[in-house]
Point group: C2
Amino acid sequence: MRVGVIGCGAVGSLFAAHLAQLDDVEVWAYDLHTEHVQAINEHGLKLSGVGDLVGRLRATTDAAKLPSCDFGIVAVKSMHTGTAMAATAHAFEDGAVCSVQNGIGNEELVAEHVGRVMRGTTFPAGHVIAPGHVGWDTAGDTWIGPFEPSPARMDEVEELAEALTRSGMNTAALEDARGAQWTKAIFNAATNPVGALTGLAHGEICDFEPTRRLISGLTDECKAVAAALGIALDHDPEEMVDHAARVAHDHKASMTQDVLAHRQTEIDFLNGAIVRHGEESGVPTPLNRAIWALVKALEDSWT
Amino acid sequence: MRVGVIGCGAVGSLFAAHLAQLDDVEVWAYDLHTEHVQAINEHGLKLSGVGDLVGRLRATTDAAKLPSCDFGIVAVKSMHTGTAMAATAHAFEDGAVCSVQNGIGNEELVAEHVGRVMRGTTFPAGHVIAPGHVGWDTAGDTWIGPFEPSPARMDEVEELAEALTRSGMNTAALEDARGAQWTKAIFNAATNPVGALTGLAHGEICDFEPTRRLISGLTDECKAVAAALGIALDHDPEEMVDHAARVAHDHKASMTQDVLAHRQTEIDFLNGAIVRHGEESGVPTPLNRAIWALVKALEDSWT
């Protein structure tokens, strides 16, 4: 089996380095950071933290060099999905591609370029320490399933899940992966921008009653949109909020880090997607729209 | 007539320097900035900008030195109203005190310390250039009237309005000044925190459709609260929003400047007051509550 990992940042690296442990899987990675790609090709891709391992794989900044793959795993930031897939689609003409990105709407963009697509949601997280070296900060499971309008075959979903699980990334193959995806997306939409707009860590926005109440208001709108779409959530996102406040109290969401660094955020794939789906299904989402507007304006203020 | 100006920052200085032009008015000012007070006592209080003038008055940082006054004009930042009035109330045992502060809820705090109170709303604005020297940036009118639960007499309202108008600060004496006050407070509540959370100028948050729409959402909630309280607004605050976008496009609201400088804002007297009055009158204010929560959390992040 040959797997192409599209976007070999923190999350992409967790998948690439794990899969590269398997003798029967050949791993390629496409990434635009030249030093990172060079380091991976020279010394392998190193993970440290939750576990320590080195994956041997082939990395390239040149999409044309990607060979034909059986599977793709997309892990670029959401706003780069379209560009990355346009560049690499040739490698997946006979393959199936799975998004493991944050938020809602990435599979739609992947499906504009390839025929068989999977939804994915992943909990493991990390951060780039140095070129070729990624910190593995959080363990956790992954859920994948066919993307309904352009589905990968279920046997493909199961084959990829089996390989990932065997490599050390526990992955469930689901007929309907929307519940897992929306549960995490709602968690992110309800908490990340509140942290980003205030500069506070996750636990701090949960400890402060007015922002905790705002999180619940955002969550309620998101749950109403999910219900209107017929999506059964895996868990109540409120439980994830409280759980994260206990186990990751001082963690600043990646969106908060994006705002502090004046980088574009994934807000369009979180609250923006909730607003869009709300409009389509007749569910009002005034709080999500307000939060989306504030973060978009904040991004505008840097440019 | 003796007038005590409580808080001689930008707005207080406009009132103090103008009133000091009148031969029949003796002006005192209470302010905690020692250098400003010293400069006023040595060289007078200088205004420049819209008009140039110097007012001769007596300033003090020592509340005990304030003599008995016929009128008080309160111009401290809203969050300092209680402290300032507790310190100076002795000077107004036989006088009437008028708030010319931003927002909603200051008169209630003044009335905890003095018997006869006026509501006031003022449009002139300025900024402190140096000790004893204030820039007069914006001309405009002032509206004053009795504060209903602890009212000043109407003849007192008219007497103060007449003196202010004669001094060059055009002021209307109204039986019901709530409409003027709420119109401006709604304008501030709907726009200032949007600028403060995004770092954008007033015209920028009006040019960007998502934030302009948020401003309308906030305004609609505020108007519903005013209607529930039986307050007839002077104008539609939306018109003020669009007017300000034309004439003061690049102006950053004082709340934006507060946030950039990590100073406490007046949010409790704007969106916080709207939420409080909404709760009391059964009008939902989810957007104002969200905005209030975000600014409060942002303030928390500095401390």
